[in-house]
């Protein structure tokens, strides 16, 4: 099963400027694990030291926010995941 993750601009320097990564997994969490296998530096930018998704990140599947399920949200073949930073302004 193939799922597409769109890498946000603020993380693309950790994926050698790759903007879209194909991953495998049945949930968002499994897809992220596959993504981190390919780009290990992303781990610290997605998770806390205790392994929880950073609160500053929001995840969309096919344009719909999957908060609060997030990592346990099931995904299907062909789904598109987007990672969004939730801070606005200042």
């Amino acid at each position: 099963m193939s799922v597409e993750i769109n890498i946000p601009t603020f993380l693309q320097h950790l994926t050698s400027d790759v903007k879209v990564v194909d991953v495998k997994g049945r949930t968002v969490g499994e897809c992220f694990a596959d993504l981190i296998k390919k780009y290990p530096q992303l781990k610290a930018r997605l998770y806390t030291k205790r392994g929880r998704l950073l609160k500053s990140l929001n995840v969309f599947v096919n344009g719909e926010s999957v908060y609060p399920e997030t990592l346990t949200k099931p995904v299907n073949d062909g789904d598109i995941i987007q990672i969004v930073y939730v801070v606005i302004g200042g």
Partner: protein
């Protein structure tokens, strides 16, 4: 049942007369409230060419239609006037309690006219309005002045006031309420020019709604949606004190007067570093996020400094422009700005401008009262904040804003003044987030980050579509989307953060309809039309003042010098296609090539009354 269109109070400081008026139904339908009412009345009442700091200018202070009840994050307020910094339309937004208290007094806005002969303050209660002697607080800082007003009128009193900077007509003086500020565009200087130290309101909760039962049910839904949103959770924990972690990482944290996009010591400026000095949280009326993070310095040169903030923009203002890594100095400078009553963004930016002039030899120690303005050294910065607020020495020059300061210094200093229309740029580098930069170019108040925040470029937002942050004319539609969206949200002066917390636009429209009794507000498409209408009327205000395409430009540095981002992406970026962008933007807006709204566009938006005022070249 009578529609609830809102009342306002007119206070003439020259004559001492006050009068209460109701907003006509058609204006309520067309402009909803808040920023909509502000531009509608300013446009109607201000003759073109009025001197911003003269007796003829007017200052309008407004809340929104939903202010003062249990709904979350809608009790903010704004000041609207003609800006002494830009000569253009000004709108400056603030939090705290003043907006709710204005509603409790029975008003959606106050129009301040004329000029008092001597320093005064206005005291409002549900029973009336008095213009009182402010002799005992003129010259006092904003903390002292507010404490005195509470002593005079009791604990049920809230106020908006100016500090010494506003009294001295610093061009970017702020209006301060509690520890929040309506910072941008110099609205505090307009207040000072009228000899008005404060507006104090003594009142208890009392809000009129068209359909309270329906409204209260909707408000419960709103509270629930907001509290369960991820944005709320993040802001409750961090406020905006960690935004620099992102902007440094992607190379858009402006450093050394917009030469670099990443601070060399950014790891010393993180949200976690600020959290080590955090001593409390503060919030606005009826907002559980409490995103204001209080910091206290306990040791070192700035021990004792204590501020609600700095938030992101102020963190940047007192670290980025001079490339200081001393967060204690940023807290001290932030406190000083709040006490003196000044916009932190323009203050920090003007100081960064002075540091570069010093580096280039255009200013010397003889000009700076002996201060050595060397990068990385925050002590002169803190000294300059005070000098600007009190207009002492070099501070008197910088108090005019970077555009005017450059003109008076001469010797080519204009090349280093980083502003749009006279308003200094905030903490997002346009070369690395070009939709944000083009928002600065076309925003009606000058370079404001909040006027059409390009979340798509900056944090990967996906509405209305994701963007390539280095693209230019291709994103003109997104710039318009962000600006019009901000405009209709500010009809209710919705907090810029909470406006993205899962309850707008649907619930907002229904709440507006229940508050006003105007069913049309439940139509989302209509809200967007109102946003477009507001933006165009503000543009027409500026056109009437002589603005056109010529002023819609980024500073030359950003158009000619490549950005240096150190270890972050975006190295070498430059803004190359501003003309192409403007052509596309104007076309999408329905404006001429000179940036003037066409008659067709104005009529389509119900703004036909503007046609006689502005020179339209072609339709």
């Amino acid at each position: 049942m009578t529609l609830n269109t809102g009342k306002f109070l007119r206070v003439n400081l020259s004559s001492g007369e006050t009068a209460e008026e109701c907003v006509p139904e058609q204006i309520a339908v067309d402009f909803i409230g808040g920023r909509g009412y502000g531009i509608r009345y300013l446009y109607q009442e201000l003759a073109p060419g009025v001197e911003p700091l003269g007796e003829q200018n007017k200052l309008i202070m407004l809340n929104g239609p939903l202010a003062g009840n249990t709904a979350q994050a809608v009790s903010r307020w704004m000041s609207i006037t003609k800006s002494p910094l830009t000569g253009a339309f000004a709108r400056s937004v603030c939090g705290a309690d003043f907006g709710a208290w204005l509603k409790f007094a029975g008003y959606e806005f106050i129009i301040i006219e004329g000029k008092a002969e001597k320093p005064v303050y206005v005291h409002l209660t549900r029973d009336g309005c008095q213009i009182l002697d402010a002799g005992k607080i003129w010259g006092k800082d904003t903390r002292e002045a507010q404490q005195w007003l509470v002593q005079q009128h009791g604990r049920d009193t809230r106020m908006a006031c100016i500090g010494p900077a506003g009294e001295r007509l610093v061009k970017y003086a702020a209006i301060v309420s509690d520890r929040r500020t309506a910072g941008r565009c110099g609205t505090g200087a307009v207040m000072g020019s009228k000899n008005l130290k404060a507006i104090a309101i003594t009142a208890k909760r009392n809000v009129q709604l068209y359909d309270p039962e329906t409204y209260n049910e909707l408000a419960k839904q709103q509270v629930n949606l907001i509290r369960n949103s991820i944005g709320f959770q993040h802001h409750k924990e961090w406020g905006t004190t960690s935004t620099q972690d992102l902007t440094n990482n992607i190379g858009i944290y402006p450093v050394r007067n917009f030469r670099y996009g990443q601070h060399i010591d950014h790891e010393k400026l993180t949200g976690e570093e600020y959290r080590k000095l955090r001593t409390g949280d503060m919030g606005c009326y009826s907002c559980a996020a409490r995103c204001g993070k209080v910091h206290t310095v306990t040791s070192g040169v700035y021990a004792g400094a204590h501020s609600e903030g700095p938030e992101y923009e102020s963190i940047w203002a007192f670290t980025g422009p001079i490339e200081s890594n001393d967060i204690t100095a940023s807290i001290a400078a932030d406190q000083l700005c709040d006490d003196l009553g000044m916009d932190t963004i323009s203050t920090g930016s003007c100081i960064g401008f002075a540091y570069e002039l010093y580096e280039k030899g255009l200013l010397t120690k003889a000009d700076t009262d002996g201060l050595e303005l060397t990068y990385g050294n925050p002590a002169p910065m803190v000294a300059l904040v005070k000098k600007i607020g009190l207009r002492e020495g070099i501070g008197d020059v910088l108090a005019e804003g970077s555009m005017r300061a450059a003109a008076s210094i001469g010797k080519g200093a204009e090349a280093y003044a980083i502003h749009v229309k006279g308003l200094e740029l905030p903490a997002y580098e346009p070369r690395g987030a070009k939709s944000q930069g083009y928002n600065y170019v076309t925003a009606n108040i000058g370079a404001s980050h909040c006027y059409g925040y390009a979340g798509q470029d900056i944090f990967g937002g996906i509405e209305p579509r994701p963007t390539d942050r280095f693209a230019e004319a291709e994103n003109a539609d997104v710039v318009i989307y962000n600006q019009d969206g901000t405009a209709w949200k500010e009809t209710g002066i919705i907090c810029g953060f909470a406006g993205n917390w899962d309850w707008v636009p649907d619930l907002y429209g229904r709440m507006l309809a229940a508050a006003r009794g105007i069913a049309r507000f439940t139509d989302n498409d209509y809200l967007w039309q109102v946003g477009d209408r507001l933006f165009n009327l503000e543009r027409a205000f500026n056109v009437r003042e002589g603005f056109n395409r010529r002023q819609d430009t980024l500073p030359q540095r950003l158009l000619t010098e490549p950005l240096h981002t150190r270890e972050a992406p975006g190295e070498g970026q430059i803004v190359r296609h501003q003309d192409d962008f403007l052509d596309r933007y104007y076309q999408l807006r329905g404006w001429t090539k000179e940036g003037i709204p066409t008659p067709r566009k104005l009529k389509e938006l119900g703004l036909g009354f503007v046609l006689d005022d502005i020179a339209v070249i072609s339709d």
